[in-house]
Amino acid sequence: MNEELDCKDMARLISERRDLTLPPAAQARMRQHFVICATCRNVNDQFDFLSRAMRQLGEKREADEPADR
């Protein structure tokens, strides 16, 4: 149970925690890994960005269309 998480475990958990609440122990182990691993921080930021982009998909067009109204 106390084994350290590797990046592969992390990738799955980084995805999973966007969809459900992880147990506190898993959250704590993730935090420990984030402290030492820039790559997993990147992946986390990128999944986060992906969600924001998806929310805007289909809604965000006005910005780059010519201002005609």
């Binding site: 590797d6 592969k8 982009a53 998806m54 780059d64």
Partner: protein, 185 residues
């Protein structure tokens, strides 16, 4: 511009999104028509607080969810072959659990959200997902449905659902990295 002509201009983009989600032209036409009718019947509900596109997309989402709910009871979605899916993901990592090719940080990603062209790329990346994976991902991230609802509607286990979302995000991450953020290979 009249409401009618503004709506007419939105028909094509709304149709594209409905089609992506429903994977069926006729069903997509139906939800788009229903959405437009709903707006035209009660134009006062749209008070210009948001853009018409945002307002119409919001209504469209609910219409799409309705269709998926009805379908979920009729159509059984085959469970994915989780083994081959896991194998594809495994290839991204070395045996010791490290990334074979560690993803670099993206430079100023929020700037992309201001560019229409970025959304074209994102759309293309989403279109390339395997049908069932794309469906679950869109239900979760675009329609913003709860996991429980998604699993129930599609008749799949929450683990299966989670694996599909994981796979979708990993593929989209790689697709955007390659095609927009110019990650070096």
């Amino acid at each position: 511009m009249t409401l009618e002509s503004e709506l007419a201009a939105l028909r094509q983009p709304l149709f594209r999104f409905a089609k992506l989600q429903l994977r069926n032209d006729a069903a997509a036409e139906d939800v788009v028509s229903e959405t437009m009718l709903a707006i035209l019947e009660t134009p006062d509900n749209f008070e210009g607080r948001s853009s018409l596109r945002t307002y119409a997309t919001g209504i469209l989402k609910f219409k799409i969810i309705d269709v998926i709910r009805k379908r979920g009871r009729e159509v059984h979605i085959e469970p994915l072959d989780e083994q081959s899916m896991d194998d594809a993901m495994d290839a991204l990592f070395a045996r010791d659990g490290h990334w074979a090719d560690p993803p670099p940080a993206w430079q100023e990603p929020d700037k992309a959200l201001q560019q229409g062209q970025f959304f074209e790329v994102l759309q293309t990346c989403v279109d390339r997902l395997p049908a069932r994976v794309g469906r679950v991902f869109m239900m979760r991230e675009w329609l913003e449905q709860d996991m429980d609802d998604i699993c129930q509607e599609l008749g799949i286990t929450s683990n299966n659902c989670g694996v599909m979302l994981y796979r979708a995000r990993m593929q989209l991450r790689a697709c955007l990295g390659r095609n927009w953020f110019e990650e070096l290979r």
